[in-house]
């Protein structure tokens, strides 16, 4: 089996649905002989139901994506509890409880 990871005709597709304020969402990929044809292919395949306000195609080779080894770094967010919005008040309650005790 061969793997096509650097397929020069592959374009990743991003759409904005649900209103112009929404973030763009990754939905899949298309192949196109050139960027304009790729955009049209994406329009036909991915914008058939919901109203779409933005449609982007990005050459696959232009995407910098994370690797498996980046996962630990990327998932650190929830490990740093002191950054969470709820943390200061939770901590205050804990503090006053320990003062009472």
């Amino acid at each position: 089996m061969r793997t096509i990871d650097d397929d020069p005709k592959a374009y990743e597709v991003f759409v904005q649905v649900g209103g112009s304020g929404k973030p763009l969402q990754y939905v899949g990929s298309v192949r196109g002989a050139d960027p304009i044809l790729a955009w049209h292919a994406a329009k036909e395949v991915f914008t058939r139901r919901e109203d779409c306000t933005q449609l982007w195609v990005v050459p696959r080779a232009a995407v910098i994506r994370s690797d498996a080894e980046d996962r630990i770094v990327l998932s650190k967010g929830s490990a740093r509890r002191y950054r969470l919005a709820s943390y200061p008040s939770t901590r205050r309650r804990m503090r006053s409880r320990s003062e009472l005790a």
Partner: protein, 303 residues
Amino acid sequence: MTENADDRAQDARLAVRYERWDDMSDEYRAAAAKVASFQALAELVGVLPFNEWMDRVPDYTRKQMLVAKIQDEVGHGHVTARVAEDLGVTREEILEDFAAGRTKLLNIFHYGFDSWEEIGPAALLMNSAALVQFQSLDKGTYLPYARALKKIGKEEAFHYNHALDLTHQILSEGEAEQRAIVQTAFDTWFPRLLAYFGPPDSDRYHENVGYQFGLKVDSNDELRQRWIAKIVRVFRELGVHVSDDIARCDEETGEWTYCEVDWVASKKLITEGGPKYQEWVDTVRGSLARNQRYRKAALALAV
């Protein structure tokens, strides 16, 4: 939903999931490519029986809806072919293999429709079966395929409702002769759809490669039961007679018994080709040949 999450946690087959760029064994890659390319072909050829009716629809709005369905199905072919392409099977290969008689087609796509009245009930049976299949397969381990199926499922729900409404219209507004066609279509297509889910589970179905890899999530019999439980009630509510010989629910166990499927005939149909098989092969072959020069020209012009 929680039941599925529990199943996933308990089922080691479904625990490890893959993105396109993840390391995977050649066997896994080949199995995933097979599943995606098989469906791509089913979508692209499965649209031909409907395509044939595009210029014969007796109602303008129905025609618009049929055209939308046909475009959807071709789109589903594109989406699943993309998944296969990224795994090393090209779109051309999928079509050329079929044109050369190297790949098999799902049993239900070997037939055409003899009348407009037949399309509603037949499509309702097909769409409901496809929805049950997709809602199982989209919990599989190859994530690009699972995502493709979720997208497809949304559009399939439209096809389902269109078929339901079309059948309802014929049964409520049609003449006796038309209503009789709906009944006959149900009796004809129901066993075909039973066969669509594949042979009964053998003692060794757990050894199936697709099942082992978690690409196939549920067994054939599980899916068949799930489908019958859903669709028989729908047809009964529409006013179609579903005799006990065709499908009957055991009140105590909740299990459905159903008419016997002629598995020998079903296998023969798939290997030797049904009434429309050769026509679809010729259509695909002709389309590939006719469009070849345009494909070449477009590729040559592309920057």
